[in-house]
Amino acid sequence: MAFTNEQIERYSRHIILKEVGAKGQKKLLNAKVLIIGAGGLGAPVAMYLAAAGVGTIGIADADEVDLSNLQRQIVHQTADVGKPKVQSAKETMEAMNPDVKVITYHEFISSENILDIIKDYDFIIDGTDNFPAKFLINDACVMAKKPFCHAGIIRFQGQLMTYVPGKGPCYRCVFKNPPPKDAVPTCKQAGVIGAMGGVIGSLQAMEAVKYILGVGDLLTGYLLTYDALKMQFRKIKLPADTHNCAVCGDHPTITELIDYEQAECDGTGL
């Protein structure tokens, strides 16, 4: 596949980079990334991956755009209120870059459909806002041997980590089980500063791009945390021992996907 003159111009700042070049840009154009959640995290991920020319982007979300989303979910516009989020995100991505094919999944991700949805993708982004979805995505990616980038945001804090099969701990290695429902933040605590999705979601997009290009070091084996008020990033080394993990360990006790019940105001990740 040869680049058109428009593509040479559009991707020139990528192609100039030694780590990308024409070969790397072709990898991006041939890559398939699935974004689960078209919210605060999914919005910048969708936009940066579309702009980068990731050729196939899947986006899954059951919700419609609400006015209260617009403070942070920058892929949606005021005129999109009431529209399915996946449709609104698709329109934004396609308007940004006609090279991108967007596949929408206007449905809740559950144990019933997740394996079927993730199977066609090279890399998965967890942009969800609740613990049941995060554990479901982790377990499904471990079982299907798919790399993914987890992230969560709340108030002035954010975190992310990347799982690549065989290259370090999974989300469950670190967090074991969803917190009890009464430990999940209440509605009053579930605020989030809008730019937090931009910071952490952009880092997730960066992980996806690096994974596709095969360059640099991923956040495998590390949890990166960001405290906006202290303006502090911390890269925490995770225990390398995955042997006893219930899903990715040597003798997994979780061999089927679990649909945990979601707490009333679980807004982890928002």
């Binding site: 192609i15 100039i16 024409a22």
Partner: protein
């Protein structure tokens, strides 16, 4: 001017920086180690920057000659896969 066994030729006189270098880089990526690329480029900024940038990428500049019409011919040997 020495004769080279040219593998491919491109003309970048119709574009500006940095697309000049981008087009040369894409053409070089398509070639194999040791292949020769001939590039027609404009005087001024392209002649000052493109050969330098190509050298920085690790390729070998074999010659740069004036065509007499305000353009130059740059002959580059690809180094690496």
């Amino acid at each position: 001017m020495a004769e080279y066994n040219i593998t491919d030729s491109i003309d970048i006189t119709d574009v500006n920086c940095p697309i000049t270098f981008v087009k040369a880089k894409i053409a070089l990526e398509e070639l194999d180690d040791g292949d020769i690329l001939s590039i027609r480029l404009n005087d001024g900024e392209p002649v000052q920057n493109v050969p330098k940038s190509i050298k920085e990428e690790g390729h070998e500049v074999l010659s740069l000659t004036e065509n007499g019409d305000g353009t130059y011919q740059l002959i580059v040997k690809k180094v690496g896969d």
